[in-house]
């Protein structure tokens, strides 16, 4: 029985379907889920998530968040998930520069963390968008 998977973001469900294999990077390293995986919650880093489904492999740039494996379904809960073809590399490059500038002038710990996360997202966008 395949993994009933959905990618949930505040801006909508990005993908929903049956997955045969999900590979991603948690905070402790690269890992993959196969059907009938034991329940788990893992924190994701800002990186690529690959979902192998019947209709092919789907790749997403996932902006952190969590993967929640329950008995009957798998949910990736994240701030944002983008397909490579949706990524505008030029814009990401511009924003990366801006994020670097912002990081330098951030003064509180939380502000720095936020800008650091933004920086990582743009780097991931550029990486995944350029591969295409």
């Amino acid at each position: 029985m395949p993994l009933k998977t959905s990618i949930v973001t505040p801006y909508g469900i990005v993908w929903e379907g049956d997955a045969e294999y999900i590979s991603f990077k948690s905070v402790e390293g690269e890992i993959g889920f196969l059907p009938e995986r034991a329940p788990a919650i893992m924190k994701l880093v800002v990186d690529v998530v690959e979902i192998r489904a019947i209709d092919g492999v789907h790749t997403f740039a996932v902006h952190g968040g969590y993967i929640l494996q329950e008995r009957d379904k798998t949910t990736i809960i994240t701030d944002a998930a983008e397909r490579p073809e949706e990524i505008n590399v030029e814009r990401a490059k511009q924003r990366l520069k801006r994020a670097e500038e912002l990081l330098e002038i951030s003064n509180s710990r939380r502000e720095r963390a936020r800008n650091q996360a933004k920086l990582q997202r743009h780097m991931l966008r550029i990486k995944l968008g350029s591969e295409r």
């Binding site: 949930v8 973001t9 505040p10 801006y11 909508g12 469900i13 948690s26 905070v27 402790e28 890992i31 034991a38 329940p39 788990a40 919650i41 893992m42 924190k43 968040g65 969590y66 929640l68 329950e70 008995r71 949910t75 809960i77 701030d79 944002a80 509180s108 939380r110 502000e111 936020r114």
Partner: protein, 277 residues
């Protein structure tokens, strides 16, 4: 005779007419925004529900229940940045005032101009986010939550509540209070054992933070949709009232004009009669 009065009524009709044009335009602006925002609300609700599920699993995986630290509460009040929406803001503020009396509020965080100006002189320290967004998104919710967390740490507070407007139906926006912290214990519904990465204590803290961001985002969104509907309704009523008023004034104007004409005819006839002797 009463040319002056006639002119005054004409002026009033004109000014009511231009007011009506403004209220009608505002109604249409609100209606145009509603569609987009309401669709967004559905997704934000889904996101918050998923996050809560993750939080529940993590909470049940904890070996010891997280102990409560700190006394006193922080109250987050979410209103709109603009009035012209009937009693929408006033109702939220009324509920916030009640909560303020009930809870041990040591610190306030306000979102929206209306909440800021209402609570500015309340004597409780507050940070205000006014004109902070048009349509809220995750970044803005995270900035607000970061501010809340810093304030709670600095003042050693243990409680967090949010007053916002819960969007039920287009005609009913109900102000609501939600107690976010301390967390209500979750009931265990099944005995599945979960794997956690990283360690459960660390993971729990992160998920708790993400969940708070998601619930605040939801509060911002619910309030926004409610505000738009409230404004649409208020402006629709205002447009109707203006149109009724124009109708009434036009009637008065016509009667007045008619009586003026009658008066003038009588004067002319009387004058002619007098000349004929």
């Amino acid at each position: 005779m009463s040319k002056g009065k006639l002119r005054a009524i004409k002026k009033r009709i004109e000014s009511t007419n231009s007011t009506m044009q403004i209220t009608r335009a505002m109604e249409m602006v609100a209606r145009a925004k509603i569609n987009k925002t309401q669709k967004g609300l559905r997704f934000v609700r889904q996101y918050e529900q998923s996050m809560e599920r993750a939080l529940k699993r993590a909470y049940l995986g904890l070996e010891s229940r997280p102990e409560l630290s700190g006394e006193g509460d922080l109250l987050l009040v979410v209103t709109a940045d603009m009035g012209l929406a009937g009693a929408f803001n006033a109702e939220i503020l009324k509920l916030a005032e009640q909560e303020l009396k009930k809870l041990n509020v040591k610190r306030l965080v306000t979102v929206g101009v209306k909440a800021e100006s209402y609570f500015k002189k309340h004597g409780v320290e507050l940070s205000a986010f006014s004109h902070f967004y048009d349509t809220p998104d995750l970044d803005e919710a995270a900035i607000i939550v970061d501010d809340i967390m810093d304030a709670m740490e600095a003042n050693n507070l243990g409680g967090l509540s949010m007053v916002y407007s819960n969007f039920k139906t287009p005609l009913a926006q109900v102000p609501k209070v939600v107690n976010i912290l301390p967390l209500k214990p979750f009931e265990r519904t099944e005995n599945d054992l979960y794997d956690f990465e990283p360690d459960i204590e660390l993971l729990y803290r992160d998920i708790l933070y993400s969940w708070i961001v998601s619930i605040v985002l939801r509060g911002l969104y619910e309030t926004k949709v409610g505000e738009l509907y409230a404004r649409q309704n208020a402006m629709k009523n205002a447009t109707e009232n203006a149109s009724n008023m124009i109708e009434r004034l036009t009637l008065v104007r016509n009667k007045l004009r008619q009586s003026n004409i009658t008066q003038e005819i009588i004067e002319v006839v009387n004058g002619a009669e007098a000349l004929n002797g």
